[in-house]
């Protein structure tokens, strides 16, 4: 059985999965995206770009006192909402805790069914980039 999701992420997933109407679901997702603080212009470097996304997405993490501080920003609001699930929902975890989260949680939200495959891939690409950071921290 998959490990339980961190409480913050679980709350966000529950909020989305409780909404049946797709329009309302997008509204909630966009609102989550608006809670993500933009990242400083000087941090929007090539190294932070998530490749394989249709829109411009930057994401990075830092390790503070053994916990991951996740930051990110997307030009498109729906992508920013999906990004919020990761950077707000998983913020402050230890790298080990991060690695125990199965990114398939996104399927429970019901937002992926309506999105194009390229956007679905975009989400997993963001996750993979953060995961690489977490792995590097674990192996450091």
């Amino acid at each position: 059985m998959a490990a339980p999701l961190p409480a913050k992420l679980q709350a966000m997933v529950d909020e989305l999965s409780a909404i049946d109407d797709l329009e309302e679901k997008y509204d909630a997702l966009i609102e989550m995206g608006r809670q993500v603080p933009d990242i400083p212009a000087e941090r929007k470097t090539e190294a932070c770009i998530v490749h394989g996304c249709q829109s411009l997405v930057h994401v990075y993490s830092t390790l503070v006192d053994g916990r991951l501080q996740l930051r990110g920003h997307a030009d498109a609001l729906i992508v920013n909402g999906m990004l919020a699930l990761l950077v707000l929902g998983l913020n402050g975890l230890t790298p080990e805790e991060f690695l125990r989260v199965d990114p398939k949680f996104i399927e429970k939200t019901g937002v992926m069914q309506a999105l194009t495959p390229s956007r679905v891939n975009g989400f997993y690409n963001v996750y993979q980039k953060l995961k690489a950071d977490a792995l590097a921290a674990v192996n450091a």
């Binding site: 329009e23 249709q54 498109a76 729906i78």
Partner: protein, 417 residues
Amino acid sequence: MAYDIEKIRSDFPILARQVHGKPLVYLDNGATSQKPRAVIDALVHFYSNTNANIHRGAHGLGSEATSAYEQARGVVERFVGANNGNELIFTRNTTESINLLAQAWGRANLKAGDEIVLSQSEHHANFVPWYMVAKERGAKLVLLPLDPDGRIDVHAARALITDRCKVLAFTWVSNVLGGVNAVEELAALGKARGALVFVDAAQAAPHFALRLAERGVDAAAFSAHKMLGPTGVGVLWAREALLESMPPWQGGGSMISSVSHDRVTWNRLPWKFEAGTPNIADVVAFGAAVKYLKALGWDALQAYEDVLCTYALQRLARVEGLRLYGPSGPKDRVAVFSFSLDGVDASDAGALLDAQGIEVRVGHHCAQPLMDTLCVAGLIRASAYLYNTTGEIDALVAGLEKVVSKLRPAAASAAKS
């Protein structure tokens, strides 16, 4: 005959369905059209009653299937104004038709220093095949610029089409901008220089009479699926002398006349270019699609689409922050509308419209050179067809207004405060 839109809509079963719990508003006809019952029935009827391989002549069923296939060819030929029975090749789609021409003709005729003249508004289907053969043969691509309305600039074309031009290949109607290019004028410029003139008619064939033999072009291509027919059928039309002069493209069954150990002779036209078992059932159903369009009549269809187009242009112009690319007036354009919304990501807009049941296309529309020319990453495209209504245009506009109110930056700052 009056254009009975309700009757026409009832001929398309899919239009009655819902998407995400909302009535379907299908405005992605530039990508593919929906299919009337007559086309669906023709497919079912073929497989239920007539199915056999063709051009083998061994049995009665095969003869019936062969005549159904060849009759469909005749129906399409007459519909697009082809000269006779030897000029219309069935392919998989417009893309394959262009690859056939670019490779069979291009490899045999192009050499280093030759120019292949295209336009800045080509779909990748009329760009990449020429790019590939240009690389192979050392030829050069030249792109004709567009005028402010997004049509190919004929004045510039006059200067850019020179004696080095061996192929002039351009789109009749831009899949993004919707403008109808001056096909006869452009073709004359190419012919005056002795170039092969090809026109990509994929977005033209659904909307008006092609009358191919009268346009001064040597070849044209279009797809069944954008004009009510099934997917998997395209057409390459070319003048008989041109097709005769071209070597075959794909080899295999059907395209040969005789095969011995050391010598193969080609079948006559049009079968020289139809290697292997073709898409028999879909070609037959394409015939049914053309009959449906014919029964509606071009005059009635165009008059209706003009009304839709004029209405849509007026309504879209009033959406806050909407910037339309392509002709702003209804003249010489089809009902294809590409636009951006200030401060709104095109893919966000597409997703929010989809959630309202409104199906449009967003992105680069397989026309990246054009996106570069327009300096945009992507656009929202709504493309209407003969079964769309002014009510659906209203739904689109209402949907866009909702998108703008939710997504524009002002809405974001209001949400934060």
